[in-house]
Amino acid sequence: MTLDLALFLLLALIAIASALGMLLSKNAVYSALYLVLNFVTVAVFYLLLGAPFIAMAQITVYAGAIMVLFLFVIMLLGTDELPKSQVLPWQRPLAIVLSVLLAAEATFLLVTKARPAGNVLQPDESVNTMENLRQLGMLLFTDYLLPFEVVSILLLVAMVGAIILTKKEKGAR
């Protein structure tokens, strides 16, 4: 067992554990924090996979901005824990059965029938980080100009939407 693998397994364990933690925590705050942990773990994976830019984005945007926003809302609404209610008694067992099925199917397909070939980059293979970043930037403004612009519009729309949804109408209430 190589060091790589050991590291991978460790991180994978953390990722899965933190995901399960998010899933199972009764308190929404804990869930959010577990998710942050998960995101950070994944960011480490990104680093391992030679994608430092994405790893940074993951940490700043996801684990940072987005999750902070989540926590903020949780705190704001004060709904970190919901009262117990069982409206849909069969929902949980059914969901678990289906999810297990999905996992089984996915594993079966991905491991036996359609196993992706190839190996990922070694971490030491990843070239100059700054060079990496520059190339990315170039690509964004050349080949990927259109999606980039679209994302900008998308963010604008989301912003407008969020404002509309929360803005108080004069005399609305």
Binding site: T2, A19, L23, F70, S99, Q122, A158
Partner: protein
């Protein structure tokens, strides 16, 4: 040398956990977080695949996905806050007046 399928299987597991979260949690915020976990899992797979072929395409896609996620979060949280204002709850099971 870690084979890419390790990463893919990991991402699949994370994805399924995200799906499960959507299905069994009632808190709209946690459901939302689960969705983010799903996207995150997908991102992991993309980056892993991209790393195999040593291309930036995957990374750029992930970048866009993160941006989209941010946009969704903006709208989604606004919606949740708004609903909380009128319902005083973010239990999605409370939001079932439309049915049939």
């Amino acid at each position: 040398m870690i084979p890419v399928d390790y990463y893919i299987i990991l991402s699949a597991i994370l994805f399924v956990i995200g799906v499960l979260g959507v299905l069994i949690r009632r808190n709209a915020l946690i459901i939302f977080m689960s969705i983010e976990l799903m996207l995150n899992a997908a991102n992991l797979a993309i980056v892993a695949f991209g790393s195999v072929i040593k291309s930036f395409d995957g990374q750029i896609f992930v970048f866009f996905v993160i941006a989209v996620a941010a946009a969704e979060v903006a709208v989604g949280l606004a919606l949740i806050v708004e609903i909380f204002k009128s319902k005083r709850s973010i239990d999605v099971d409370q939001m079932s007046s439309l049915k049939g």
